[in-house]
């Protein structure tokens, strides 16, 4: 007879090595690919869901279209002018910011009132990674392709099925501008680190 497994209060393994400063820039990991399908609108998704053997239902279409619409409002890039927006998303592919119109102050970053139009959405099956179905809104790129708001994944069409990187379905941060890790024009530096609550001058200890 075996007794109960003894309780173990410590990790099975830990990260042991401190490499020191300057070694932390690392390449993105290989990520596994997931089934995905994109649609220009809700109706085409519902039509596709009638086919047998697909991994999504009409209800998935509705739920994820609504989620993509919401996410579009929250994460699609916003621009100060229509010209700027069209430079990034192509002529005729931009419109006003619905969020800015409904609430003049909140969330839209003040003065950034043009957005690429929502031109479809992509759904992905995250079942292999323990999730359900995820979705992302799609907007145009300047060369007539399609991308998610993060802009790091572009696709030739807003219609079709295939395997895409799971990273495609990572939510973009709520943006007024550019997605994380993209290069940006920096106008000033050094605004953090003054340690204002300590009276002693110079660099202090910030942890404790």
């Amino acid at each position: 007879m075996t007794g109960p497994t003894p309780i173990r209060k410590r990790s099975r393994h830990v990260a042991l090595i401190l490499a020191g400063s300057a070694t932390m820039a690392l390449a993105a990991c290989e990520d596994n690919r997931v089934d995905a399908q994109s649609f220009p609108d809700l109706e085409s998704c519902i039509a596709a869901s009638q086919e047998n053997g697909l991994w999504f239902t009409e209800e998935d279409c509705r739920k994820n279209f609504a989620a993509a619409q919401q996410e579009y409002l929250e994460t699609a890039p916003r621009y100060a002018s229509k010209e700027l927006c069209e430079q990034e998303h192509g002529a005729g592919n931009c419109g006003g910011d619905p969020a800015a119109e409904s609430s003049a102050q909140q969330g839209s970053g003040g003065g950034f009132s043009f957005m690429p139009l929502l031109v479809g959405y992509m759904m992905g099956s995250m079942l292999s990674r323990g999730g359900g179905i995820s979705s992302q809104p799609m907007v145009n790129t300047p060369d007539g392709r399609y991308s998610t708001p993060k802009g790091d994944q572009t696709f030739a069409s807003n219609r079709g099925a295939g395997k895409v990187s799971g990273a495609t379905f990572q939510r973009a941060p709520a943006t007024i501008g550019k997605p994380p890790m993209s290069a940006a024009q920096v106008s000033q530096r050094g605004g953090f680190g003054a340690g204002a609550t300590s009276r002693s001058s110079g660099r202090g200890v910030f942890g404790g």
Binding site: R8, K9, R10, S11, R12, H13, V14, A15, L16, I17, L18, A19, G20, S21, A22, M24, A25, L26, A28, C29, D31, G109, G110, R129, G166, A167, F169, Q170, R171, P173, A174, T175, I176, G177, K178, P179, P180, M181, S182, A183, A184, Q185, V186, S187, Q188, R189, G190, G191, F192, G193, A194, A196, T197, S198, R199, R203, V205, F206, G207, G208
Partner: protein, 407 residues
């Protein structure tokens, strides 16, 4: 709980150096000290430290929920008015916390007492989660410790799990700290290893190199936009820096979230005492301004008069005065029976509002006073690290001591 002399691992200093643990000795004094270790029973760990710490964290969350909607409390906590919304929003959106360290007074019997909660920028993570773990494994292998011994140290695995829970797969996280401070950097790097193991992208940027883009977002030292920022830098300083005005509009996600400004503030201690008076793991605590007169014969602020009367004798026997913001014991004064018995020389935080807390005398083990650091990951206690000091005020030259569990 007792303290046991043990042989040191031969060559551990070389190993520490090889592993990058460069501050194992500091200023000629050992920081990592394995000439002895603290031993606990499993019951002490689980019933006296682990469960109460998780409960204290839950109480802290209740206190945050109250303070973020209460202008009077936010004022007392010295949170600048322009950022009340940032803090309230981060709480009402349920932005998840990552980690914290509760400092506890405990002598093996009786309830552990919360001295303070570093819920924002706790360090000593590498020594707690990693080097201490290695010590146990190697001392077991060497036969110095029995095979049935254990350690309360699930910190690394809990961090990996927490990162995976609160981020999307592959999310890029920037880690910002002062690269010239090896202790801070080691904590950040330990954290970044856990994030990478959770499948996230980890990128370091020096805190002072963070920039502001022309679109009002933050960018790292290579001008890449920061989406998620782990900062080993206190919220009370973030909120007073030149870039503070851009914290909200940049739409950055911060770890720890802004509501930690409420928690990692010694003003939370009077609030906890007000909400949970007499809780076995709390010490009576008040704002100095409310009871300063009463301590010398006058009357306390009406709102806390009852609570003060109940604690008056305990505070007279012994109390500690500390600024609501301070690092490494700065500005702490201990008094017993009307006499000041200890004080740190560093008063660089003493211009902030002060709190008064009942004194929980630290136990004495061979001339050293240990303070327990109970690590909270997510919402639960996940491990333990101890520091001890000859002085009664623990500061940054205290020694880190390993511990083990043996029944």
């Amino acid at each position: 709980m007792d303290k046991i002399d043990l042989p040191e691992r031969p060559g551990w200093r070389d190993e520490a150096e090889k592993l990058g643990f460069t501050f194992a000795d500091m200023g000629g004094e050992p920081y990592w000290d394995e000439t002895s270790a603290y031993r606990f029973s499993l019951r002490q760990i689980e019933e006296d430290i682990e469960a109460p710490s998780s409960e204290l964290h839950a109480m802290c969350r209740e206190a945050v929920g109250r303070a973020v909607r209460d202008g009077e409390w936010l004022t007392r906590l010295a949170i600048p008015r322009p950022y009340w919304d940032l803090i309230e929003q981060s709480w009402s959106h349920g932005e998840p916390e990552l980690y914290g360290r509760m400092d506890l007074a405990y002598d093996g019997g009786g309830p552990a007492k919360l001295l303070e909660y570093n819920a924002d920028t706790p360090t000593s993570l590498y020594e707690s989660a990693s080097f201490q773990w290695l010590w146990l494994e190697q001392q077991q292998a060497a036969g110095v410790l029995g095979g049935a011994t254990d350690q309360f140290n699930g910190i690394h695995e809990a961090l990996v799990e927490r990162w995976a829970q609160i981020c999307t797969p592959g999310e890029d996280v920037h880690f910002a700290a002062d690269p010239d401070n090896p202790e801070d950097y080691a904590t950040v790097e330990t954290m970044a290893w856990a994030a990478r193991e959770a499948g996230l992208g980890a990128h370091f940027t020096a805190l002072a190199k963070i920039g502001l883009t022309d679109q009002g977002q933050f960018a790292d030292d290579q001008s890449r936009v920061i989406g998620t920022l782990f900062k080993l830098y206190p919220w009370e300083d973030m909120l007073r820096d030149d870039f503070a005005a851009h914290l909200q509009s940049s739409q950055t996600r911060y770890i720890e979230p802004p509501w930690k400004a409420v928690l990692s503030n010694k003003g939370i201690l009077p609030l906890l005492w007000q909400m949970f008076p007499g809780h076995p793991n709390l010490l009576p605590a008040f704002f100095h301004a409310d009871i300063a007169e009463a301590m010398t014969g006058g009357s306390p602020a009406p709102a806390i008069a009852g609570a003060f009367d109940a604690a008056r004798d305990q505070l007279a026997r012994g109390h500690v005065i500390k600024p609501i913001f301070s690092r490494e014991g700065a500005g702490v004064i201990i008094s017993e029976n009307g006499r000041e018995v200890a004080r740190t020389e560093d008063d660089s935080y003493s211009h902030h509002p002060l709190i008064v807390q009942g004194l929980a005398p630290l136990p004495d083990f061979g001339g050293f006073h240990p303070v327990l650091g109970a690590w909270i990951v997510g919402e639960a206690c996940a491990g333990l690290g101890l520091r001890e000091d000859r002085s009664r005020i623990t500061h940054n030259l205290s020694r880190f001591k390993p511990h083990f569990i043996e029944d």
